[in-house]
């Protein structure tokens, strides 16, 4: 086999599993261009009708948060338990709120 495969850029694949739901990341693949990436994503990730729609995104266009910075990056949210409804005691007779 040729080595050209390695020159194909990497694509991230997002699949909408059911109409109405959001696209979810399910994996990645190499392909020469966007159109080919879509077809290959169909063959690789939806062989059993796992999806009704596919997005492919060039992996090198994704900017991700640094795993090492996780603690500092998300720390500000850690002590704000009052953002959750369960923080508030409401009598049962009020019903669902």
């Amino acid at each position: 086999m040729s080595t050209t495969h390695n020159d194909w850029p990497l694509w991230e694949v997002f699949v909408r599993s059911k109409q109405g739901l959001e696209h979810k990341h399910c994996g990645s693949l190499h392909a020469a261009d966007a159109q080919q990436a879509l077809q290959m994503a169909r063959d690789v990730y939806t062989r059993r009708q796992e999806g009704v729609s596919i997005w492919v995104v060039p992996s090198n266009t994704i900017t991700a948060s640094e795993p090492d910075d996780k603690a500092a990056f998300f720390e500000p949210m850690a002590d704000k338990i009052y953002r959750h409804p369960t923080f508030y005691e409401i009598p049962d007779e009020v019903g669902h709120m």
């Binding site: 109405g20 409804p85 508030y88 009598p91 019903g95 709120m97």
Partner: protein, 335 residues
């Protein structure tokens, strides 16, 4: 918070790219999807009127979230404790976040953020009438959480099943966060009701002032809502204004009893036959006055918003300048 079934056309809807006349096949396919309760997604063909209605409704909803930060924001610096201040900050921050989810959903329909903001700032776009009422004392904050957010939840839960995918998904996210808003308000009022007679009177005063504007939030009566039928046909609206209002009244009456306040409506009573509450007549003249810009706080809300936007101009400029500088540096390094 805070959509409102206004059915009020904006003075000028944001400009949209024109779509060629629908070939019948596309219309038929669209109708079939709606009939089958399927979602319409941004790439799908849709009738121009459907697109325009959604742009109007979603952008009005987004504007309401952003303007809705003001009445409560008014009390952040004067909250009675650090705990209440932190809670209020978190809530107002959520409202800003909800506005952002919704602007993004509207943008999937091909309308730009600047166009929408411009429509808001020039007074062409509408937002929920409720935010043109003042927050006069601390109990107003609790009552907004309990009643205004309660009404908004009633209104918004059905929109989670809206036929337009991005709007429905934004609403699911928003509704998950709304529960905190209503509960913090109710809990704050419960605490205040255990206080002095004066503190309890403050709660009752706030309920008295907010009750009728909250009922009006659900929009004009069904008989006067020209667009309801079309909205229902398109799966944008799922439950009529009057039905939502009734559900809200029925849910709220027992809550008021637990809290120990009365609702300011002498005609409010249980109707055994209907198995629902009867309630008094809403002042629709006042509602339209407020919608049309003549409420107690319309001018203040809008001028605050415009000022905030203008005051933020240097931040947007600085961010752009920084990005341009970074890019130039990268290109230089690459060269």
């Amino acid at each position: 918070m805070y959509t409102q079934s206004l059915d009020v056309p904006d003075t000028s809807a944001p400009a949209l790219s024109s779509v060629p006349t629908a070939p019948d096949a596309l219309q038929t396919r669209f109708d079939e999807k709606i009939d089958a309760d399927q979602k319409i997604e941004p790439q799908d063909w849709m009738p121009e009127a459907y697109r325009r209605t959604l742009v109007r409704q979603i952008s009005q909803h987004a504007h309401s979230e952003i303007i809705g930060m003001q009445p409560e924001g008014n009390w952040i610096s004067r909250a009675p404790s650090l705990k209440r201040k932190a809670i209020l900050l978190a809530k107002v921050q959520d409202e800003g976040g909800h506005g952002l989810y919704l602007y993004s959903a509207a943008e999937t329909l091909g309308v730009g953020r600047d166009t929408m903001l411009d429509a808001l700032h020039t007074g062409k776009a509408k937002y929920s009438s409720i935010f043109n009422y003042p927050t006069l004392q601390w109990a107003d904050v609790g009552v907004i959480g309990w009643l205004v957010d309660g009404a908004a939840i009633m209104n918004q839960v059905p929109i989670c099943r809206c036929s337009y995918g991005p709007y429905a998904r934004a609403m699911i996210r928003i509704c998950k966060e709304e529960s905190f808003h209503q509960r913090q308000g109710f809990e704050s009022l419960m605490v205040q009701m255990q206080g002095t007679p004066e503190q309890r009177a403050m709660v009752q005063d706030a309920v008295n002032r907010w009750w009728w504007p909250v009922l009006a939030m659900f929009g004009p009566p069904d008989a006067a809502s020209a667009n309801t039928a079309q909205g229902m046909r398109w799966g944008i609206k799922r439950i009529s204004n009057d039905d939502l209002r009734q559900k809200f009244v029925d849910a709220t009456v027992p809550q008021a009893a637990v809290l120990g306040v009365t609702l300011p409506d002498p005609d409010l009573k249980w109707n055994e036959e209907r198995q629902q509450h009867d309630y008094g007549a809403i002042d629709w003249d006042e509602f339209w006055e407020v919608v049309n810009g003549n409420g107690p706080c319309n001018k203040e809300r809008l001028s605050n918003r415009v000022k905030a936007h203008e005051d933020g101009q240097w931040v947007r400029d600085a961010a752009q300048a920084h990005a341009a500088k970074q890019k130039a540096r990268q290109m230089k390094e690459a060269a």
